[in-house]
């Protein structure tokens, strides 16, 4: 099993320092910072779809970017195929690695250069990585990936510009750009949240087929735990920069251990008028990540908070095979 780990993180930490005014900075001792990601560790295995679930501001996007070293970690390390990528100092080597790690961004209206044709957009990674020798080879690779994404006939799309495409088509171009290098690892940051429901499942299907074809490992970042259930093998639930629960997707959703996971699942609207949900909605909102609450970060909103939760931070412990939770309710006994 251990040999099959593609990406591994150890105690990953990212703090963003806050900008202060000149005088404020003079009188402030501890510079305030946003605790975006705090002590996050997980492994993604070969050919696995790993889901990172949480509300906005929980640090899931930052974690995704840390894995690709698009932001530098404050502490901790990221191992990609056994190699620590945070210690690589040469840009040239990083570029070489990026051939095997790609990302699909959330908003296809912002992630595609409006002045580049579809052909140029998809050809750019091939050119930077110098994987194709000739122009014909580049053309073949692009044709193939566009066909895989049902953008047929490919010739018809190659010369178009992003503004001539619909939202669903744009996101497929973004997917094509990420897949044209056949990466071993891929991060997708809410790739379908901007799309209409009827198009969403189509894009997801094509994306999953491509992953199968290329044998990639996949980090899927989403706020939609119901969607995660449908596509992921394992998930980690994040709250205020920390992983609160981690495990196989079926176990985690059918038997959630952490009260926050439970609340997330209860908040999903059910498209069934006969099954009205029990309306125990979590009160309040996510506290600020500048001064996260002491002890368990969730205790301010937790319906089952105890005395100890206010003082002591619960460690992420293994409670069953491939099942981890950070909560005082699930202690040693």
């Amino acid at each position: 099993m251990v040999n099959d780990v593609v990406v591994e993180t150890h105690n990953l930490v990212k703090h963003f320092p806050l900008k202060l005014g000149f005088f404020q900075a003079l009188v402030t001792k501890d510079l305030p910072k946003v605790h975006a990601v705090d002590n996050v560790s997980f492994r993604i295995f070969k050919r696995e779809i790993f889901g990172l679930v949480g509300e906005s501001g929980c640090g899931k996007t930052t974690t995704g970017r840390l894995l690709l070293r698009l932001v530098e970690p404050t502490e901790g390390e990221v191992l990609f195929q056994g190699k620590d990528i945070t210690s690589i100092s040469l840009e040239r080597e990083m570029i070489k690695l990026r051939k095997n790690m790609q990302i699909i961004f959330q908003d296809p209206y912002e992630s595609l250069n409006p002045r580049m044709s579809v052909f140029d957009i998809v050809a750019e990674p091939l050119r930077i990585q110098r994987v194709a020798e000739t122009e014909e080879e580049i053309e073949d690779r692009i044709e193939e990936v566009l066909e895989d994404l049902d953008l047929t006939p490919p010739e018809e799309f190659m010369d178009r510009f992003p503004h001539e495409l619909s939202g669903g088509q744009r996101q497929r171009i973004a997917i094509a750009r990420a897949f044209v290098l056949r990466p071993a690892f891929l991060v997708a940051d809410e790739p379908v949240s901007m799309l209409d429901v009827s198009i969403r499942s189509e894009v997801l299907r094509l994306l999953l087929e491509l992953i199968e074809k290329v044998n990639s490992s996949f980090l899927y970042i989403t706020h939609d735990i119901a969607l995660a259930r449908h596509i992921c093998n394992r998930i980690a639930v994040m709250y205020l920069g920390k992983i609160v629960e981690k495990g196989s997707v079926e176990d985690t959703i059918s038997k959630p251990l952490h009260p926050y996971t439970e609340a997330l699942i209860a908040a999903v609207p059910v498209p069934d008028p006969t099954a009205r949900r029990i309306s125990t909605v979590l009160k309040g909102e996510v506290p600020s990540a500048i001064n996260p609450p002491p002890g368990c970060r969730f205790h301010t909103r937790c319906p089952q908070a105890m005395e100890i939760c206010r003082r002591k931070e619960p460690p992420l412990i293994e409670v069953a095979d491939d099942r981890q939770v950070a909560c005082h309710l699930h202690g040693k006994e």
Partner: protein, 319 residues
Amino acid sequence: MELLKVRNLKMYYKTLRGDVKAVDDISFEVNKQEALGFAGESGCGKTSAALAILKLLPSNGRIVDGSITLGDQEITKMSDKEIRRKIRWKRISMIFQGAMNALHPTYTVGHQISEAILMHEDVSNDEASERAQRLLELVGMEADKTRRYPHELSGGMKQRVVTAMALSCNPDLLIADEPTTALDVIVQAQVLKVMKELRERLKLSWMLISHDLSIITETCNRLGIMYAGKLQEYGDLAKIYKEPLHPYTQKLLTAFPSITGPTRELSSIPGFPPDLLNPPKGCRFHPRCAEAMEICRNKEPIFQEISNRDHFVSCHLYA
């Protein structure tokens, strides 16, 4: 009891390339104390239908045909001034999509709510701000939040403020356009809960517009499915859910991932929504429909009730 009755409404946008038929011959009612949900993809005309009801059309939009009656008043025949004085806010008010980002940044929310009251009713300043406080309590906020500025409030709070504002002149009908789209799941659940309680407590009628069917099933009891400017299926929500007739509705209902029950393959609809400048001939859904027949390409299906069951559908399969 019918509150709002829309019959054969057509609303077109004039463009240089011809008329965009955003709303094309739709009929529906909103009954007293009922909640109607309008679902459909973006660009299917659901927001345009709502704007037509309030006659809040942009300069190139016009109501071509049809009638909209509120109680016994015909809205399409009213002058702009009459609508502004008698209908908007007082009888029908609307929460626009992204309204929470349209709050004025330099006025307190209390000021903005009482401004709406002062514009429409002859009350004193003190009474208006008193009412603003009561309204905030109604949507589950503390009364002293009236002194806050929008930037001091979170997204969920701002959404509650615009809901309170829409309720400020005691309307009979509230139209909400994608009220929770920009919110997180848990905050969304909080806002939906407040809205559901309000509807029961104030005996309001709702019209909720959303692309998300699960939000509509959580809050409404009637459903209309729009596609390419036309109402494809309409009726009692529980009935449609139990037995969806139109192929488009069937696909939509199974396109959502569910958190309960067995995981199944999510259905997808191939192709793209049509261009409303030149909608497809015959049934507008036929290019994407798996069950399309010869007749669907040529003849437009009639919107009709299926054996008096309060379940309307526009599809040749049931003609």
